[in-house]
């Protein structure tokens, strides 16, 4: 490869630029000396050699050394000029660093969530996740999920004709290592024997599961561990293979250690992999779990392209799944379900995007806008500086600097600023990326650090592009400078109509983009406010839920727990700060029961997707939680066994079943039509069932003292405390529970804490977009200030003349401010148009407010206009201080 030799030669000279000249000199010296020796005439030898300096130069020109010299010169010149006006350099650098940094920070997150495949697997592009679109389960609303049960997996794998290419796994991110309460948790993946082969993952040491170890019903207690898990648990020394690790209550033998890269297929990184056959059998299930069609929670991955194209796979699997479901009883068999394949990157699959992905894509959009603002600002500032240097540039050109050299000089200057900004952006990206990770996905243990080669490449590329953009306009403008006019006008010229139009155009763009970001912030803040203001029915701020946990296998019988819990409740009621105590089978918004029931009226089909759900509670429940009885009464307090058969329904259920008539006194029977009648005694306000944001769900309540079927027991406490005493009561509850069960672990949570994850996305959106909005506002204001201030300086003479002709202070002030206000106002109008155009993109992220809400836009526009006017007032005021005599004398 001849050109490669050549390039290598050139690079070698570049590596040691200083020795090049010396070596060539030495070589030539030898030549001349040898020649002199040959002919015995030193002078003739020198003459025959010719001009040594000239040939040295000629050689040197052929290398890349002159380029280095030029760049070095330009850089040192750029540094000098930066030192001369450090303010502009600092502003440009900070603005660009913020813009690039915001983008890099969101990139770190998007890259993990959406762009890159899980690490450590072979050819991720041919690996597919299998998705199922369900129609009948989940209340009839179609939804797409990866969760499937084992018979479904089996059927689909068989339908492909080669089940070795289809693997299945389940995850449990919180398995105790041992039976004690304090045992550490481990993130377990239950994997089919072919899991590692399908993924193409080889262990770094030892082996993975054999087919024998994965026989269902006879799973072997073996485990493959991640490199990180091994390091954390056992240190790097010693042979991991053959040692045992407690997973649940079973010691597992370590048979393999994976390479450092592979941490599973999900965002959450896995610790250990055990055979799927060791998946724990749920206690309530009669048949083995792998024969049950109730045990969802498995996920399937397949090397689809090795079998056939995606569509064929989906068609075959769909047919197989429908056939399987058709054989089930009519109620459950979903013969409409379809199977689809998706990328191994979960977020690219057909499932509904997670809130974290939605937020991070919108953030990326926001960051891009921020960068545009930053670029506009940087270009503007550099432009202003280039114009104020017109005289210097003109002088240089007059002295023979070529336009090309001049452009290179200005480009190097801007690139230098971009390099500084990029360094800053990397810091911002690392810090911001970490913050975003903890804010958006606080529970995820990330397998890799925020900053890596990809982020670095992204940041540097972005910095380079931004640098070139920032350099281009001013360089172009400056190089168009005409020597004679520039010299004549010196620094007083305004830069011409054309250039000032460009500058105010840039300010306009900044204002428009700031409006977009500020509107986003305002919408999020209002959404958060709306969501927080929702009445969920419960008095969440006053409620504590409590219970007791036991080590595996150490739990006393449930009836004993329930009766002891009643005693604890009685004692708690006497404590200070406690308003009411109820017991229940489950915590509100943490679970419910579905029971077959009949009423006097034909209820078939009237519920649509939402079948009424049942809560089993003690009679104090409504008073304790703050749910209002809107009609009739609550439960009888006659006590266990003595209480009559009673039911309380909520308003949503009453409306669906009894429309306008009163349900009080109506009869509900359970399980069979011949069962005894439970009388509806009251209607209670509709509380949230699962989520803070949801449609009214029909629910009804039965009393623990006289439940429809005897399986339910009040093992949970609901405590209503005086708001301010919440923490004290919490300690009381824990102490009492711990005294009642010294071997157990008392758990007390405030309802607010349970709800917090639901408010988090809203709070997060509000916080992040407000940050972006404020940064945008700041950058835009700095830009406006800089431009107006420059304009005033340029037009000192004009103001001097105006004032000499009798213009008052107010006049000049008005003139300057009005000019900038007009530009901003146009920008705001443009921004409003953009907001309307983008409204669909944010619609799914706002609540209770329209993205086109005029009040928001007016507020944002008003804010920007006010701040911009204030920013323009300072330089405008300076314009009024111009001394007419002095400025006129200056010419």
């Amino acid at each position: 490869m001849s050109w490669l030799d050549g390039v290598r030669h050139r690079l070698r000279t570049l590596i040691r630029p200083n020795t090049y000249d010396a070596e060539l000199q030495e070589e030539m010296q030898l030549h001349v000396e040898l020649e002199a020796m040959q002919h015995g005439d030193a002078w003739a030898a020198r003459r025959r050699f010719g001009n040594r300096t000239r040939y040295l130069e000629e050689s040197r020109r052929q290398t890349w050394l002159p380029l280095i010299d030029a760049v070095r010169q330009d850089v040192s010149y750029a540094l000098r000029s930066m030192r001369r006006s450090p303010g502009v350099a600092l502003l440009v650098t900070i603005t660009l660093a913020l813009g690039i940094g915001a983008n890099a920070a969101t990139f770190t997150l998007l890259d993990e969530l959406y762009l890159r495949a899980p690490r450590g697997i072979q050819s991720p592009e041919t690996l597919r996740r299998v998705w199922v679109r369900h129609f009948r389960t989940g209340g009839g609303i179609p939804f797409t999920s990866q969760a499937l049960h084992y018979p479904l997996y089996q059927t689909m794998a068989r339908a492909t004709g080669d089940s070795t290419q289809v693997a299945v796994y389940a995850t449990d991110w919180s398995v105790r290592m041992g039976s004690e309460l304090a045992a550490p948790r481990v993130r377990v993946t239950y994997a089919s024997p072919n899991y590692f082969d399908v993924l193409g993952v080889r262990p770094a040491r030892g082996r993975t599961f054999t087919a024998d170890e994965g026989v269902l019903g006879k799973g072997a207690a073996v485990v493959v561990v991640s490199e990180a898990f091994w390091r954390d648990k056992f240190g790097t020394r010693g042979d991991p293979l053959g040692q045992t690790v407690l997973i649940g209550r079973t010691p597992h033998v370590v048979i393999g250690v994976l390479g450092a890269a592979f941490r599973g297929l999900d965002i959450q990184s896995g610790d250990v992999w055990v055979p799927l056959a060791t998946y724990p059998q749920p206690e309530w299930m009669r048949e083995p779990w792998w024969q049950s069609t109730n045990q969802y929670g498995l996920r399937t991955v397949a090397r689809v392209p090795r079998l056939f194209d995606d569509r064929t796979f989906a068609a075959r699997a769909t047919t197989a799944a429908r056939t399987l479901n058709g054989a089930l009883d009519g109620e459950r068999g979903d013969t409409l379900m379809t199977v689809a394949t998706g990328s191994i990157v979960e977020a690219r699959g057909p499932g509904a995007p997670g809130q974290e992905l939605l937020i991070s894509t919108r953030l990326a959009g926001g960051a891009a806008l921020l960068l545009l603002i930053a670029c506009a600002n940087a270009v503007n500032l550099l432009l202003v500086r280039a114009l104020s240097r017109r005289r210097e540039i003109a002088l240089r050109m007059a002295l023979g600097v070529s336009r090309r050299q001049l452009m290179r000089l200005l480009t190097v200057e801007a690139l230098l600023l971009a390099v500084l900004a990029t360094a800053g952006a990397m810091l911002i990206a690392t810090w911001g990326g970490t913050v975003l990770r903890t804010l958006l996905l606080p529970d995820v243990e990330w397998s890799h650090s925020v900053f890596d080669g990809r982020v670095a490449t992204f940041t540097v590329t972005m910095g380079l592009v931004v640098g070139l953009v920032a350099a281009f306009v001013p360089a172009l403008q400056a190089s168009r400078a005409d020597v004679s006019t520039a010299l004549a006008h010196s620094a007083q010229g305004g830069g011409g109509r054309h250039r000032s139009r460009l500058r105010s155009g840039l300010v306009m763009v900044q204002a428009a983009l700031a409006v977009v970001l500020l509107s986003g912030a305002a919408l999020f803040v209002r959404s958060l406010h709306n969501v927080q203001a929702l009445d969920i029915g419960y008095d969440a701020d006053q409620l504590l839920f409590a219970g007791v946990r036991f080590a595996d296998g150490a739990a006393p019988p449930a009836p004993a727990v329930a009766s002891a819990m009643r005693d604890v409740a009685t004692r708690l009621r006497r404590r200070a700060g406690v308003q009411a105590v109820a017991t229940g089978a489950m915590d509100p918004m943490r679970g419910f029961t579905v029971l077959q029931f009949y009423t006097g009226r034909d209820s078939a089909g009237s519920f649509g997707p939402n079948e009424p759900t049942l809560g089993i509670v003690s009679p104090e429940f409504f008073a304790a939680t703050g749910l209002r009885i809107v009609r009739g009464t609550g439960f009888s307090t006659a006590g266990p066994g003595a209480a009559p058969r009673e039911i309380v329904i909520n308003e949503a259920m009453a409306r669906i079943l009894w429309k306008d008539r009163s349900p009080i006194g109506e009869c509900m029977v359970f399980v069979t039509r011949a069962a005894p009648c439970f009388t509806i005694v009251g209607v209670v306000e509709t509380a949230r069932r699962d989520n803070v944001i949801e449609a009214a769900m029909p629910q009804y309540y039965a009393s623990l003292d006289q439940p429809p079927i005897p399986d339910w027991l009040g093992t949970r406490l609901v405590v209503r405390a005086d708001g301010p005493a919440l923490d004290a009561v919490r300690t009381d509850v824990r102490t009492l529970l711990q005294a009642a069960w010294p071997a157990g672990e008392a758990t007390v949570t405030a309802m607010r804490e349970n709800l917090e994850p639901e408010y988090r996305p809203w709070r997060l959106g509000a916080t992040l977009f407000t940050t972006f909005g404020l940064v945008a506002l700041l950058v835009a204001v700095v830009g406006i200030y800089g431009i107006v201030s420059y304009g005033v300086n340029q037009r000192r003479r004009e103001f001097g003349v105006r004032m000499a002709l009798g213009a008052g202070t107010g006049n000049v002030l008005q003139h300057v401010v009005w000019e900038s206000t007009r530009t901003i106002a146009v920008g705001i109008a443009l921004g409003a148009v953009a907001v309307v155009a983008l409204s669909r993109q944010v619609a799914e992220l706002v609540y209770g407010v329209s993205p086109r809400d005029p009040a928001t836009m007016l507020g944002v526009g008003g804010l920007l206009l006010t701040v911009a006017t204030i920013a323009a007032l300072f330089p405008a005021w300076r314009a009024t201080r111009v001394d007419p005599v002095e400025t006129l004398r200056a010419d």
């Binding site: 001849s2 030539m28 025959r48 040939y55 050689s59 052929q62």
Partner: protein, 115 residues
């Protein structure tokens, strides 16, 4: 002062060809290359010797020659140049071109038969 061929009197690119051809003898330092060319042409092709060095840089840049520091027979440090495989291919190409040109000139001057 006797008339002397200035370096401009060479056909363009000829110096490169001469140097490459000289290097087919083996690794040589700059002075030896100059000596060789001068001797074989019986001092007719007496280029200004310094112009050899830009030419050597040019050949290295193109990847046709490489260089390495060594010690000359007289014990001095000297840079030795070696022709590369692609340099040999280039030399063949240049010789062929040169023959074509020389033949064409000869025909114009009536020293050779037209084909």
């Amino acid at each position: 002062m006797p008339p002397r061929a200035s370096r401009n009197d060479l056909l363009p690119g000829t110096l490169d060809m001469l140097v490459l051809h000289t290097l087919t003898l083996g690794s040589l330092h700059g002075y030896a290359i100059a000596q060789h060319i001068a001797k074989l042409s019986a001092d007719v092709l007496q280029v200004e010797q310094g112009s050899l060095y830009p030419a050597l840089e040019r050949l290295q840049k193109a990847g046709w020659a490489t260089s390495k520091w060594g010690v000359s027979p007289t014990g001095r440090k000297a840079r030795y140049y070696t022709i590369t495989a692609s340099g040999k291919r280039q030399l063949g190409q240049e010789l062929a071109d040169f023959d074509t040109v020389v033949l064409a000139i000869a025909r114009v001057l009536g020293r050779a038969e037209a084909p």
